[in-house]
């Protein structure tokens, strides 16, 4: 094929895209499409697969019960990867090519923020059951966060330390958006509580040698130490090397360390570690988790994401039933009517900015099981 042949191929591909999404508008008896933009490839694909699996089951439940005034829901899934361009591409495709106005957005924060202008200007509602960062909280009227807030994680951990009498504390965090959000909130709350952060360190994700950092933390002698990493494994290596040097300070961390199976292989036991457990009503979600296991043959890898995704789909469904297939009215409904909502995450509300008030419960691991304090 000569070079003009390739040009013809390129033009045909572009024309194919154009005609593929220039479909006639939906009639009122046709399905209402719900988009799912989540990270389905890459290191965190397990997060996206969990969101998609949950959304499918939730949509099946709704459709079995008659759908939305006779109209079934239909899922359209797109990979958002874990970067800003990937999030924007996925939401562009859903909103502008498929004409979808309701999206479950299990994306990374950067993807959610990059997609927010489209959602806000084109009145497409995005409910995120995964991201909990400060940037997402301020992303605009059409972005709703159901997931537990990172800001509250930092606050709840600092409050727990304060309650236990630890006034001079330390924090060590990986340089990621998620962990730095928690760290900043933690440091601010410690100061508000009249305490002091005597050591504050950061490390690159994927670091395996923490001996120098452990030695530095040791010299500052904090009464308790918060260690934060994106997946829990980095924190596990830090704790392992602390133990090797007989440094035994009360350790606090986020939920990732407690839920990552690989951590136990690194540490042996997690006993004695305090962690911020996302607040959700596990007993409420028990039946749905059983249904999940029956459908996919595995336990939900991140149960509170499963619970929040389910709640997101159900919230959309209740809004659609109440105000009809109109995304502006759905946005208004979600902003004003989701108060004391009873879902798998428990009973909670969305505030005027569209963010849930779900925080964390600090627990301790005893006999390898999370235990209330």
């Amino acid at each position: 094929m000569n070079k003009w042949g390739w040009v013809v191929v390129a033009v045909v591909v572009a024309a194919g895209i154009f005609f593929a999404f220039n479909k006639p508008k939906q009639a009122s008896s046709e399905p209402i499409k719900i988009g799912v933009a989540s990270l389905l490839t890459g290191d965190f694909a397990v997060v996206g697969e969990n969101v998609v699996n949950t959304a499918k089951l939730a949509v099946d439940q709704i459709n079995k019960n008659g759908g939305i005034h006779g109209r079934p829901l239909e899922l359209e899934v797109q990979d958002s990867k874990c970067d800003s361009k990937g999030g924007l591409d996925a939401v562009q495709k859903l909103v502008n090519a498929d004409g979808i106005k309701y999206i479950i957005g299990g994306m990374c924060s950067n993807g959610t923020i990059a997609a927010a202008p489209i959602a806000n200007t084109q009145h497409a509602v995005i409910l995120t059951p995964v991201t909990g960062g400060k940037n997402v909280d301020e992303a605009g009227d059409y972005i709703f966060r159901i997931a537990n807030s990172d800001i509250l994680a930092g606050k709840d951990l600092a409050d727990a330390m304060n309650k236990m009498g630890y006034k001079n504390v330390g924090v060590v965090a990986a340089v990621t958006e998620y962990t730095l959000d928690i760290k900043k909130s933690f440091e601010a709350t410690v100061a508000q509580n009249g305490g002091a952060v005597v050591v504050s360190e950061e490390f690159q994700p994927g670091t395996t040698d923490y001996r120098t950092m452990v030695a530095k933390v040791k010299t500052k002698n904090p009464q308790a130490l918060l260690i934060l990493s994106q997946l829990g494994t980095d924190a596990a290596y830090f704790i392992k090397q602390s133990r090797e040097t007989n440094y035994n300070v009360p350790l606090f961390t986020d939920f990732t360390l407690a839920t990552n199976g690989a951590v136990k292989e690194i540490l042996g036991t997690l006993d004695g570690i305090y962690f911020a457990d996302p607040a959700y009503d596990a007993s409420n979600a028990k039946n749905f988790f059983a249904e999940y296991k029956q459908a996919y043959g595995i336990e939900s890898p991140i149960p509170f994401h499963t619970a929040s995704t389910y709640d997101g789909v159900m919230m959309l469904a209740s809004a659609l039933r109440a105000v009809g297939d109109d995304s502006v009215k759905v946005q208004q409904y979600l902003s004003t009517q989701i108060k004391n909502y009873h879902g798998l995450m428990g009973t909670y509300s969305l505030d005027a900015q569209g963010n849930s008030d779900l925080g964390f419960t600090v627990r301790i691991i005893k006999n390898d099981k999370p235990t209330d304090l």
């Binding site: 194919g16 899934v77 797109q78 361009k85 502008n96 940037n135 340089v175």
Partner: protein, 288 residues
């Protein structure tokens, strides 16, 4: 239509990046894997100057290009000591350093939290808020970049670059200070990449370090290898192909459970097949 405009804007941005890298790699024969670093410098300059200092986009973009050029001059002086594989590794190292600065200099760049709320460009009171108007701006910058690249390759300067690519020692025997030529094209290429970064930051309205990692440099490299080295049309076609292909695959009816993975695998397979059957790229005139 909005979706097509979105894709067209991305093609313009990656087209500029492809053209800029083609000057260094296709014309001068220097294999650089650092284009994302200069792209990021332009993006961060615009992002920070717009959000924190309230600058006009065009002034900020100019500053970004200038910073990128100065950085390219400094690193180019170091890289000019290397040849072949060592030069490639040097550019890889430079990209990683710049990415680490984006990630870790949190007081300036906000680290992984990124820079949100970057506004669209404004010119004589007209703001490029609509994507259709932004596309026109992107097309103008792309056309200007193409014009610069065309002018360079058809000038005596461009002919010396080609001579350096073919045989640097022979070129220097004729009295050409090859280091200066290589340095100059490296700086020009970096400044053009920064212009693409400025457009990207303003279009996407949010930037963080993940957009400027080594993977992005490899993607830009793939654009010109696929399009064909030493061909400006090839750089544009490569950008078109690599931006459109993954989007086109979103419309292919793979089974929903494995659609994302199938799309990624198909994308990779198509690229492998293209390289097997068209190793000089779609419109290439030169092979490494």
């Amino acid at each position: 239509m909005e979706y097509l405009i979105h894709i067209a804007i991305l093609i313009c941005i990656y087209g500029i990046l492809g053209l800029s890298l083609n000057l260094v790699m296709g014309e001068a024969g220097l294999v650089s894997v650092a284009q994302a670093a200069f792209y990021g410098i332009g993006a961060y300059a615009v992002g920070l100057l717009l959000t924190e200092a309230g600058w006009n986009f065009f002034a900020a973009a100019g500053v970004g290009m200038l910073i990128s050029g100065v950085v390219a001059l400094a690193i180019g002086l170091v890289l000019s000591r290397f040849r072949g594989d060592f030069y490639v590794l040097g550019t890889v190292g430079f990209n990683i350093i710049v990415w680490s600065i984006f990630l870790n200099w949190q007081e300036l760049t906000h680290g992984p939290l990124g820079v949100p709320g970057i506004i669209r460009p404004e010119l004589f009171g007209f703001r490029f808020t609509e994507n259709s108007s932004f596309l026109i701006l992107a097309l103008v910058v792309l056309a200007a970049t193409f014009g610069i690249a065309y002018f360079i390759t058809h000038s005596s300067f461009g002919r010396v670059l080609k001579a350096i690519r073919e045989d640097e020692e022979a070129t220097s025997v004729f009295g050409y200070a090859t280091v200066h030529y290589k340095l100059l094209i490296f700086v020009i290429s970096a400044m053009l990449a920064a212009a693409a970064g400025a457009l990207f930051a303003s279009y996407i309205t949010f930037i963080d370090p993940s957009s400027f990692a080594l993977n992005e440099s490899i993607f830009i490299l793939a654009i010109i290898i696929l399009g064909g080295l030493s061909s400006h049309q090839g750089a544009l076609l490569g950008a078109f192909f690599l931006v459109v292909l993954p989007e086109a695959l979103r419309f292919v009816g793979f089974p929903p459970d494995v659609a994302a993975q199938m799309r990624s695998a198909t994308y990779g397979l198509i690229l492998i097949l293209l390289m097997l059957y068209r190793p000089q790229g779609l419109m290439g005139t030169f092979r490494l």
